[in-house]
């Protein structure tokens, strides 16, 4: 069967083409409707399918394979796919809040806005990574927003599902991706490292902060290979008002060696959500690029660089975010000690872990709370000091630990919310002994265990 002419009014597999939204060289995006379907939908139709560019065809196959397997708010909902034998297409939910590409015309942005948008994108990528999918083409044009600001990743044509065949793996001699945002290992044709998405998001953060792409838009594979040794100007050299924590985050994302970056998207999201907890290194205040000798050294190393071996499939679980909820009421120090001992033991098994120490300052349920004024502030600081003292025997380096005093009328809810918002992999907390009242009212640990989105370890002191 001959492929149909793509035009307004065409009915394809039950979908009516209403209006073209984007007429690119590679694919067209049409607004479509289907009788009895209220969901706003678009149809993506690839254009070149006769052998000129196999990346295009295979990329479209990959998208048809991966999108139906993704779920959640950070991807457009999959509706239907068209048969390659007739006219291939993908129908998906239409995302109406605009793209980051459109918003980027307003860059540079204030640091708080960079962190807010960056965090939204990091949340989206974290969700993809947890579904075993690497996007591998993170760029402003592929980030859309829902009306509530939730970021949605689109275009899975270069993506990789780590439990499905990678049809793009072997065939293509040239690196695939979008030049300004491509990670160094992608230049070497590696397609299996979640930290490639960390690098690309670092490029996007840089662009939002400075209004410029860190590496420009290189053409040709020789220029692209510069990605293996060339370092961009630190953001503060272009924007002196860029705060040190933001420069620290961006430059850590842009490390040439993936091992120098955030080990997981969740850990990057964590820093974007808690700028005050970012550990600052010399990179944070740098105003210049690396010296000539350092760059020459990298150039030599890059000269023989080959595609790195794939990282372990469980790399993400080796660098988890562990939340330890510490109850600092004086009567329960035996439990606090037991929680610390358990935490220490678990961390020896997880050398890449990051520990978030959390204490909940309980607010009164009724009336105006006196902890909101100066006295409350003092209490907050006092708890923070107690929390640091509690953690000191663990002997963790500063970059592996952070401290959070939450204020809430409902401690269990506060812990669960903090765990969810920070992509926590594991909660450790204490439980006090059994008592009639506790059984009757329910305990904090029981509620956290029931509602947390992750593993919860409940520790009791020896009787």
């Amino acid at each position: 069967m001959r492929p149909p002419r793509i035009e307004k009014g065409l009915v394809l597999d039950g979908f009516t083409l209403v209006a073209p939204l984007k007429l690119g060289g590679m694919a067209q995006i049409w607004e479509v409707t289907r009788e009895g379907d209220d969901l706003p939908m678009v149809m993506k139709i690839p254009l070149i399918l006769d052998g000129d560019d196999p990346t295009m065809i295979v990329g479209f196959e990959m998208e048809q394979m991966i999108l139906p397997r993704l779920s959640g708010p950070h991807v457009p909902r999959f509706v239907a796919a068209g048969d390659f034998a007739h006219q291939p297409h993908i129908v998906m939910e239409r995302i109406t809040g605009g793209s980051l590409y459109e918003r980027m015309t307003g860059a540079p942005f204030a640091a708080a806005k960079v962190a807010r948008i960056g965090l939204a994108v990091a949340h989206a990528l974290c969700d993809l990574h947890r579904q075993d999918v690497l996007h591998l083409d993170v760029k402003p044009a592929n980030v859309l927003f829902r009306e509530d600001g939730t970021a949605v990743m689109v275009d899975f044509g270069l993506a990789r599902h780590r439990r499905l065949p990678d049809l793009l793996a072997e065939e293509f001699r040239l690196p695939i991706g979008t030049a300004p945002y491509m990670a160094p290992e992608q230049v070497l044709r590696a397609r299996d490292d979640p930290r490639s998405d960390v690098f690309a998001l670092g490029c996007v953060l840089y662009e939002m902060t400075t209004g410029r792409q860190p590496f420009g838009d290189p053409r040709g594979s020789r220029r692209l290979r510069k990605r293996l040794w060339w370092d961009p100007w630190p953001p503060r050299a272009l924007r002196p008002d860029c705060p040190d924590w933001l420069q620290e985050i961006i430059l850590r994302c842009l490390a040439v060696d993936p091992a120098g970056r955030y080990p997981t998207m969740a850990q990057l999201a964590f820093d974007l959500a808690h700028p005050g907890q970012v550990r600052l290194t010399a990179a944070a205040s740098r105003m210049r690029r690396d010296g000539r000798i350092e760059r020459l050294r990298r150039w030599f190393r890059a000269a023989g660089a080959e595609r790195p071996p794939p990282p372990a499939l469980d790399g993400d679980t080796a660098a988890p975010i562990v939340l330890v909820a510490v109850d600092l009421a004086a009567d329960y120090c035996a439990v606090a000690d037991a929680v610390r001992a358990m935490t220490g033991r678990m961390l020896t098994l997880l050398p890449g872990a990051r520990l978030a120490c959390v204490n909940v300052l309980r607010l009164k349920r009724l009336g105006i709370d006196d902890t909101t004024d100066g006295e409350g502030r003092a209490l907050h600081v006092a708890r923070l000091i107690q929390l640091r003292a509690w953690a000191a025997p663990l002997g963790l380096p500063a970059e592996a630990i952070s401290f959070h005093v939450l204020e809430s009328t409902d401690p269990a809810e506060a812990i669960v919310t903090h765990a969810r918002e920070n992509h926590v992999d594991q909660v450790i907390m204490g439980a006090r002994g059994q008592s009639g009242t506790r059984r009757y009212l329910g305990s904090v640990s029981a509620q956290v265990t029931a509602e947390a989105p992750c593993t919860v370890t409940v520790v009791r002191a020896a009787a």
Binding site: G51, E61, Q64, M65, D83, F84, P165, E170, E171
Partner: protein
Amino acid sequence: MRIALLTDIHANREALEATLAHVARQQVGRIAVLGDIVGYGADPVACTEIVMDLAASGALVLQGNHDEAVARDDADMNADALAAMAWTRGVLGEAHRRFLAGLPLTAREGDLLLVHAGARNPGQWPYVMTPRDAELSFGATDARLIVCGHTHVPALFSLQPNRTCVAFTPVAGSPVPLAAHRRWHVVVGSVGQPRDGIAAAAYAVLDLGQGVLEPHRVPYDHPAAAAKIRAAGLPDRLASRLAHGR
């Protein structure tokens, strides 16, 4: 139509029975046994009789090189395999021998080709281990889907628009969609002597309606199977390898 794909049973009764119990829960419409029912293991009679029963109730059964070697002396095999084969010939009865010798090399159903080793010269028992092997196999047939065994290492190959193949190692519990416009070469792992480092029996379900391959692994009592191999006086290596899936 859902087809259970079993291959390289190799006279391992424990593995075969555990696998068939697993298959019974998968709502399959058909079972296909892709050969090498005997050889290496200590239960050739029991395994052949189980497969004969399957065949009698509609299963598709193909011949493997070990099944062929029962009736042929000049088989190209390593010393362990030859020792096991000599022993196997001694314990099989006439009916078993007739059944194994009468099995076909290939089966074709629509765009699906089933074969023990590979589509190119199937009687010469080629190995499909690399993308290049798969390309040769694709070149020998117009079947869109080829399913084989023989290597004892599960793999999946797909033909690209530029006529080369990409390789993938299927993971048990992660179904793989097989796009309908592509050609796919499934290499099913071994029921009775896995060699990919996993001791559990390997098999797969192919859902032709949905176009999905479901790879499975079934733990079985491999110490019992190994003990029988030792008790039969077969080479110790054939017993010890079962614990390591090597």
